[in-house]
């Protein structure tokens, strides 16, 4: 039983890592909390749902994930192009980013409500077997797939950031955008790449979250709040910290929901975030505070 809870918790946490990283990677480069990420997750959850449900013949699940990820990338680049680019060109203060991102998040949610109402849409079953027997444990196939895909994605992202030159450029711009420009790094390329990564992560996490819960317009913002908590607890702008914090949050949520119920769990999660802000405002990694000094 306990092991089953832990696996479910890590699986949920793995989706949170995707959300938290998608949120945090934009923060590292542009230093603002991209609340539009929640809207993107909702939109992608709907895209994945309709693709899986209504495309005939029924596409394999992997295709749904890839299709939604591509839509997520396009959506993220479109949001950057229509909403954020102007702020950079005008060199407006970063509070504008924050306001625009909130506006975009609400805009997407309301558009989804206009078209689909506030109903909940349940994902069709995509796996032939709902559960898998591992030793004496029964584990949902979905949770295993989510865990495997999320961890591989994170692994690929870490390779991209740590082993490639575009990754090095992203890290350099995150540390010091002014000096980066003098080194010939084109920050527009870096920003576009970062939004593409965030869109891809929003696409994949949208499908997974939609499967775990059901699909509705405020799904993304609700979930993104958890990604946000994870990135605060992890240390704003630190991807490693966000990943660790998101995995822990998933675990705590599943275990606490099992023993205390869903309502209490929400209170506990926010209490953890507040506690972290009091005791260790720099988060697990402490990177943000270091940069600020």
């Amino acid at each position: 039983m306990v092991l089953q809870l832990i696996i479910n918790g890590i699986s949920l946490g793995a989706v949170y890592t995707l959300i938290a990283v998608g949120f945090a990677i934009v923060f590292t480069i542009l230093r603002f909390s991209n609340f539009a990420h929640g809207g993107m997750i909702s939109a992608c959850a709907f895209i994945g749902y309709f693709f899986q449900r209504y495309v005939k013949p029924t596409p394999p699940f992997a295709l749904t994930v890839i299709f939604t990820a591509v839509c997520g990338i396009i959506l993220a680049l479109a949001i950057d192009f229509f909403a954020y680019q102007r702020i950079r060109i005008n060199k407006s203060p970063s509070i504008y980013y924050f306001l625009v991102s909130l506006t975009v998040a609400i805009l997407i949610e309301q558009i989804l409500i206009v078209f689909f109402g506030t109903n909940m849409y349940g994902y069709p079953a995509v796996f032939e077997t709902q559960t898998m027997q591992i030793g004496s444990f029964r584990i949902k196939t979905m949770n295993l797939v989510i865990l495997a895909v999320s961890l591989s994605l994170l692994f690929a992202l870490m390779i991209l950031l740590n082993k490639t030159k575009i990754g090095l450029a992203i890290r350099a711009v995150a540390i010091d955008p002014n000096t980066s420009r003098l080194m010939g790094i084109n920050s527009n390329v870096v920003i576009t790449t970062v939004f593409a990564i965030a869109g891809l992560l929003a696409g994949v996490s949208g499908v997974f979250i939609g499967m775990q819960y059901s699909v509705y317009p405020s799904l993304g913002p609700t979930m993104m709040l958890k990604g946000f908590i994870a990135s605060v607890v992890g240390g704003m702008g630190s991807l490693g910290g966000a990943i660790i914090a998101a995995l822990f949050l998933g675990l705590i949520e599943i275990i606490s929901t099992y023993f205390l119920g869903a309502t209490t769990t929400t209170i506990i999660m926010f209490a953890i975030m507040l506690g972290f802000l009091f005791i260790r405002p720099q988060g697990i990694s402490g990177k943000f505070a270091e940069d600020k000094v």
Partner: protein, 258 residues
């Protein structure tokens, strides 16, 4: 005489009522090393900031190999081959020494998100090449042992050398050193001069422009010197000529000895 690789004509920059740089004209030839000296506030670093496009000039022109770069941006001049170091070192604190040097190579290779994700074999060869060039530069400045360390853990003199390595790695046409000897002890200054000589042997076509306060360094290294005072050019010439110039003695050397 070959054509100058870098040339400024009547470069002027005002900050409010203050004229930081007043009609500064200079030229530097491939393989040569020239210096800009002057007391604090003479506008030396402003000249570097104008050439590397941190500031935009109010008047004047800048040419790199006869290409007008007066309106270029920072990324363009860096790609065209002007590299620099900073008075206060500006290394990336979160990256190790090797990555700090590799950062500057990004511009010389083609960016593509798709080739970053796919095209695996080609990309790997490219990454290898970047790594090798960065390691070569570290070796030239005797920094190989620090490759995996964070710059903040290193002595100031070593950090300055890392900046020089980072500036060199993209194989620039012009290297601008902004007070490379500031904060170094006399022995480190001697080492620095040796490193600069090594660089000149390794890169015979490289033009080096130095801003410096330390007279022994400027007089030993530079073939030609521009003297600035309150934004104005008060003298220029060979080290011997500069040392004899009465204006310079008044404005600069005399002042320092009092």
């Amino acid at each position: 005489m070959p054509d100058p690789v870098l040339r400024t004509i009547g470069l002027t920059k005002r900050f409010g009522g203050l004229v930081a740089v007043d009609h500064f004209s200079m030229e530097i030839f491939p393989g040569s090393i020239r210096g800009i000296i002057g007391p604090n506030g003479a506008g030396k670093t402003t000249v570097f900031n104008l050439i590397s496009r941190i500031y935009t000039q109010d008047e004047g022109e800048i040419y790199l190999d006869d290409v007008d770069i007066s309106n270029a941006d920072q990324i363009q001049v860096s790609k065209l081959g002007i590299a620099r170091t900073f008075q206060n070192t500006r290394l990336f604190t979160g990256l190790n020494v090797l990555d700090n040097v590799k950062v500057a190579l990004d511009s010389s290779a083609e960016y593509s998100m798709f080739s970053a994700m796919f095209g695996f074999g080609k990309r790997q060869r490219e990454e290898k090449l970047i790594e090798k060039r960065a390691l070569d530069c570290l070796e030239l400045l005797n920094l190989s042992v620090y490759a995996r360390q964070r710059p903040s853990n290193l002595a100031y003199g070593i950090q300055r050398r890392v900046e020089i390595a980072r500036a060199l790695v993209s194989n620039p046409k012009v290297l601008m050193l902004d007070e490379p000897a500031a904060g170094l002890n006399p022995e480190e200054v001697n080492q620095l001069m040796q490193y600069i000589q090594d660089i000149r042997v390794k890169y015979p076509e490289l033009a080096i422009l130095v801003i410096e306060h330390r007279m022994e360094l400027v007089m030993n290294l530079c073939e030609y010197i521009y003297v600035q005072d309150f934004g104005e050019s008060i003298a220029q010439g060979s080290p011997e000529e500069i040392q004899k110039s009465p204006e310079v003695l008044m404005a600069y050397l005399g002042e320092e000895e009092n």
